[in-house]
Symmetry: none
DNA sequence: GATGAATGAGATTTCATTCAT
DNA sequence: TATGAATGAAATCTCATTCAT
């Protein structure tokens, strides 16, 4: 159940937090891999390449990853790569589409997050799933967040996915009445920033704590910071 | 009179005749600003290059930045660049040293952050200064956080600087008793993650909100999430 | 209920949050012919490059030779060169391996060189073969002798090959009892010096005499100087 | 006392052994340093540069030596270097002139070298002085012998100096009647080759033996090989 | 479908030489 | 005289992409 919003600032602006940075270019899109009907072998190769891409992007970052690395990781050849993708960015695009789906689904599934224990559970579940998604698609999300994407189309996918999540969280925050509406965009920005980079820290091994503790802590902090959960008793 | 020697194994130093000559190479090519005492003109050029580096890194990101871009931005020549730095990484190192200083100083200046209004002021002041530092040294901090740094030395500078801040904030959090000690590492990680990425969002224009609102919101969120500031009354 | 902790020294792993991520880089760029299984075409190109290298090194000398020259001589592209060798030195290394083999074989084949006519024949045959080897691998031998090699591994190959020949000749000299043992190292040094530089002179066209005369003369001089062959009768 | 030459082959060809290799270029000569009258300070700087050149050329070889190395070794600046020499080759030229003088003087001083003890003494004395000259001017001689000189003028200086010595030694060999006239050019070539490279070996530390032994051995070998000194008695 | 080989545009780096003070 | 600073031509090296089999 959603309570009426006290003030009237337009929620349409909430996603301003995830807009792409001012850019000025325009890369041409790719060519192959589109209309091709793949047989079993082809599908296997495609999968190998996608997985390899994810692994190599994770290790080196999208920009620094060389097609050669990917091809080697997939145990195939340069020629084959360009049979499936028109270029490196095209591979990123394919991964980005998957990732965007996941994130959009995730967004849609976020239920109300009240200041109480039930809200906490909902939040925790969301964070857990976000972390899982990051563990797989981290490199793509990083590419979006670190602004490594040249292609407009790919970039837009990211903006849209993050807007979906951001809008949803904004809605939940609004319901919890914890943040003044004026700061909504900033709050959403801060929350998404923490989510993304914290996940990166965890996925990359920079932040190492045992999984449950880490998740508990994150949940607590977010719950208190953004959703009005009460601070520990002063005696605490 | 010489007696004939049996044709046995060759004397150990017969081959002394063909040993490689003793090398005495000296410094390998690439001798940057270190030993050189700079005069006014040199200092000016050095500064131009450092500033240009910061600007170009900010615009393109460290990895994608070309020495050529930097040189053009500094209105000097390729040759000149290599007179002051042995390569792009060396320039980053120079900037990193400065940045590390700033951050370390910043860390030292963080006073106690209680859950009350005084604590909030202290926190806000810290965040404000952090944002300022980020506005200048963002590219360096990004390079650290996005793990774009190959050089061990530079990397370590970053780790140290962030450890300094993180430790200090951990101390302040402990004083405020808001987070359970078990989750301290994770909490610090989350806080730093948010700080860095939020600052990036602001500095890059991804997050746009007017400065005061943005700062207020960030302060509120952090104060509540990490330092035990009370949630707004349910009446909101 | 949590008791307040005194604000003491920070726990040892608070900074665990900021450690650099574990790197797993793999092979640095520059992966030449080693691991690659070459097919017919590849082997042909490799051969073309090796031959071109030998030719260009011969013409210009190792140090002054440009990769560009070699590539042009092999009628291929820059990129292709670096597909087979990681740099000029790597090409030299490949040639050096071949050359070292030749020289070692040559060394092993040197039979006893007495002061008599049979010894002279043996010596002449050795010199002839050495000259032949020099005609092909001269540039490599020069690079060794003129100390143009930076790479330790390549250098060692040369030292070893020359030691092999030097030791063998030392043995033959000892058998002939023509030189006092104390001077053996110096004698071997002198002989190798003459061999190498004379061959260079011949191969480069600096010394021009018809082949048989030249070989006869060299044989005579070495036979008398190092292996006890009698001087011409005073009537000469 | 010189005996009449038995056969009639033209001595004019003897120097064919030291001709420059077939070349096809034409470098422009230098500019400054010619007409300048130097005061005490200038003379000192000039000397420092010449000495530094010799040292650096010795360490790195002429080709690989950078003006920067020389300038640093001379504790002066780039600007100053070009005040005294029009370019690197010009410095080599200056050194070459000195060296050529030394060698020409040395050549003129070579007395008759018979097969007897007196001849041996003369030979030894010559070799000793040659080695001394090499110790100082080795880099220049190397540059000549290793064909590193681009400038025609400098090259010619070397050819002339070596021809002087070669011709003189040819004359002494002819007197000793040890080598058949047909092989004279080759013999001279071989002798000069050995001299030069052996000296390089000694000066560079490749050949290390104590000075007297080394000199004795070299003398013996040359005396026997080129000047008809008798081999050791067969009983030897 | 798949592959090894080849390419060349573009980035980095070096260094002899010139310039301004 | 002397110098630090600057330059740019030339060399090295990388890597996404295309080609031929």
């Amino acid at each position: 159940m959603r309570t009426a919003r006290p003030t009237g600032s337009p929620p349409a602006d909430a996603n301003a937090a995830y807009k792409s940075p001012p850019r000025a270019d325009g890369a041409p899109p790719g060519r192959p891999a589109q209309g091709r009907e793949l047989r079993a072998q082809g599908r296997r190769t495609l999968r190998r390449l996608l997985d390899a891409g994810l692994r190599v992007f994770a290790r080196r970052g999208y920009h620094a990853a060389r097609v050669d690395d990917i091809v080697r990781a997939a145990r195939t050849s340069h020629g084959t790569f360009y049979l499936y993708f028109s270029n490196k960015e095209d591979l990123l695009r394919a991964l980005a589409v998957d990732c965007a789906h996941q994130l959009t689904d995730l967004a849609a599934a976020v239920g109300p997050i009240g200041a109480d224990a039930a809200g906490r559970r909902e939040l925790r579940s969301f964070l857990d799933r976000f972390l899982d998604t990051y563990r797989r698609y981290g490199p793509v999300i990083r590419a979006w967040m670190e602004d490594q994407v040249g292609d407009r189309h790919v970039d837009r996918l990211g903006v849209r996915a993050f807007t979906a999540i951001g809008d949803r969280l904004a809605l939940r925050m609004r319901e919890s009445s914890a943040t003044p509406p004026a700061g909504e965009a900033a709050a959403v920005g801060a929350l998404m920033a923490m989510l993304e980079r914290f996940s990166y820290g965890v996925a990359s091994g920079r932040i190492d704590a045992d999984e449950p503790t880490m998740l508990e802590t994150l949940t607590t902090v977010v719950h208190r910071g953004f959703f009005g959960a009460p601070a520990p008793s002063i005696a605490g």
